[in-house]
Point group: C2
Chain length 267, copies 2
Amino acid sequence: MKQYKVELNKKISLAKLDPNETGDFDGGKEKGLKAIEKLNAELQELQELLYAEGKHKVLVVLQAMDTGGKDGTIRRVFEGVNPQGVKVASFKVPTSEELARDFLWRVHKVVPGNGEIVIFNRSHYEDVLVVRVRNFVPKEVWSKRYDQINEFEKILADNGTLILKFFLNISKDEQKERLQARLDDPSKHWKFSLGDLNERKLWDDYQQAYEDAINKTSTKYAPWYVVPANRKWYRDLVISTVLVDALKSLKMKYPKPKDNLDGVVIE
Amino acid sequence: MKQYKVELNKKISLAKLDPNETGDFDGGKEKGLKAIEKLNAELQELQELLYAEGKHKVLVVLQAMDTGGKDGTIRRVFEGVNPQGVKVASFKVPTSEELARDFLWRVHKVVPGNGEIVIFNRSHYEDVLVVRVRNFVPKEVWSKRYDQINEFEKILADNGTLILKFFLNISKDEQKERLQARLDDPSKHWKFSLGDLNERKLWDDYQQAYEDAINKTSTKYAPWYVVPANRKWYRDLVISTVLVDALKSLKMKYPKPKDNLDGVVIE
């Protein structure tokens, strides 16, 4: 799965990456789902260890085009993981209090503490994505944000945060199918707004904005993974694998008991 | 399961309630676990509907003696429910900023918003439990808090919050067994502190404090349920049933689409 990590000295081109592929995974969906199940059990154990040790912090950033599968990823990959140790932060339209400050202010408030996993469902990257595509601020403002993001993430990493950033890469055709499926299912209509179709019209602009963001903010301490996401099971398999491997690499240990428990009797 | 709800005009006596019972449930653990699975699937759907409708807020308060099973309840009852719609709030030792304000200030900050479920793992009730038993504040301060809690919860309920409060009722013997099991398992020693045993010595004082709290703050808008919790599966079954029934009683509906979607074509 290492192949999906964006290399430091290489620029990626999204047009050349296939959202449909399943890499060199030997087996189809059924085998993939079994592998995910096993990884999920590992993740549950690693999360408990992370919490017990209380030393590292984990930040997972999820970004995708509309219908890209952020919600599904969170449900599937983190299923059964103790909800007390995993928080999801979603970023809505900024409040006036938030707009009066730098764009990272509201983000900093919700970063993980020791022993915690926080998942950003959308993130500070929207400030160089929709904000750029929709011209919410002038270019001279958003163009400086890439460096600011790198600096901000460095501060977090230097203070014990494992940062993993995933771009769920779906194709334009796949998005069409998913939007159509929502349209065909009346029970999903409440989620549907015509605004989603306006965003779709800007597909190429968004792809460009994503490509730039990924190329400018892939760092050693906060790497991007471009995940082929047309097939949901493969998307979940890639993310689960990266996450489990990264947590294992922390070489965490259960802490020693606070007290000497020799000869303790419970009355 | 209605029998576990504390009636408004009746005082409960914890000593008379059996933590070991399984009520009139027809069937043992195996049948219980199957029923929980079914309730869990219902809960997942109801949570989605709650989120979609965005009208009601749900606050679940969990209180218990040490080892009473709050963590296990959260994992089991809410397994598979979308983590984006369910938040867990834990209350640690208050900060100086929190201590400088009324005891409900930090609690108010984390109440659920529209469409959200928030689970309090411990809560403002600690301010009439450990605070009372340990004399952290004088009686004239804590004794006024029952009314303040009722007033606070009334404000939340009047503003669209469904409040369900559960006391997980274990016996003193069961606590002994659970503490012993932790002591016998070296991998759990990091969780064990001798302070837990000091709290156990105050068992009767805590039972009295719980009984008073439950009797003084069982209201129509924020009822207490005293859940027999020696058997974990039965505890989870009771809580799942109460939760699902309460959510159903809200008679929620999926909202109408924001836009007229007739004849929409996705290009």
